[in-house]
Symmetry: C2
Subunit: 139 residues, 2 copies
Amino acid sequence: MIIIAALRKSSRKRDAVLNVMRGTRSHPSAQWIYEVLRPEYPDISLGTVYRNLKLFIESGEVVSVGSVDGQERYDARTEPHPHFICTSCGKVIDLDCEMLSDAPYSGIEDKTGLKIESHSITYKGLCADCVQHGKRSSH
Amino acid sequence: MIIIAALRKSSRKRDAVLNVMRGTRSHPSAQWIYEVLRPEYPDISLGTVYRNLKLFIESGEVVSVGSVDGQERYDARTEPHPHFICTSCGKVIDLDCEMLSDAPYSGIEDKTGLKIESHSITYKGLCADCVQHGKRSSH
DNA sequence: GTCTGTGCAAATTGTTTGCACGCAA
DNA sequence: TTGCGTGCAAACAATTTGCACAGAC
């Protein structure tokens, strides 16, 4: 599928979407990418962002972090790593420290008959900024 | 907040929503709950299901498992436990085995300044049924 | 010519909300 | 009476899609 990705690709806007994804640690939404690209590509459309994100997800170059406040958030760092989501401001932060060992798959699979392909760990709470500003969890 | 929940509640339909949630292990969507309740409450509306789910989430009696195929899925078992999501049929399964220790919070919090309030572990892949029937991951 | 990527706007879909009514205190 | 729970339908918002066109080959 890397081959497929290599075959089927390249256009200025498509590349730009991937570059934005790779150049940020903010785990963006489609809307955010759209707004970042508009200055340089004034005629880009949100549909294009969505279409290309979907392609990148199929090819494995981008991964979804889940949906925050109703918007899907994406990540171009595809090695599994834990995320922290601030329930006040919606910020998504990488927690590079402490990863679940990637071994337990086989044990679980043997017992359950499942075929596990990925896993994710997500912490929720208040980010440092929101703690400082006395924000409260919006739940 | 248990007190608040105890004060503000009780209506046949509201109780019915919570009972459905507590009586299933299927991690239902609002739509699913609605369809289960309709035989007994033919005039119940989807809005009521959503409104009451939101209340239960605020009171902590129900928790969201995340969104699967565009629909939010809920769980009345609120103690943290890992989930498996089948990327072919959308089934959500409890993995009672193997839970991340709940200790690491303080270590992470000290280093990062975050206030962690919850965490979740989610595995994705194919469930036993879909493996057997040769289904493929829809990604 | 064909094929692919795109803008645009319309359609779709899950969820929320405004309003009026009905019931219980 | 006041207040809360609800049905209903409209509103909303994120995402998808149909269509016509542009540009690469």
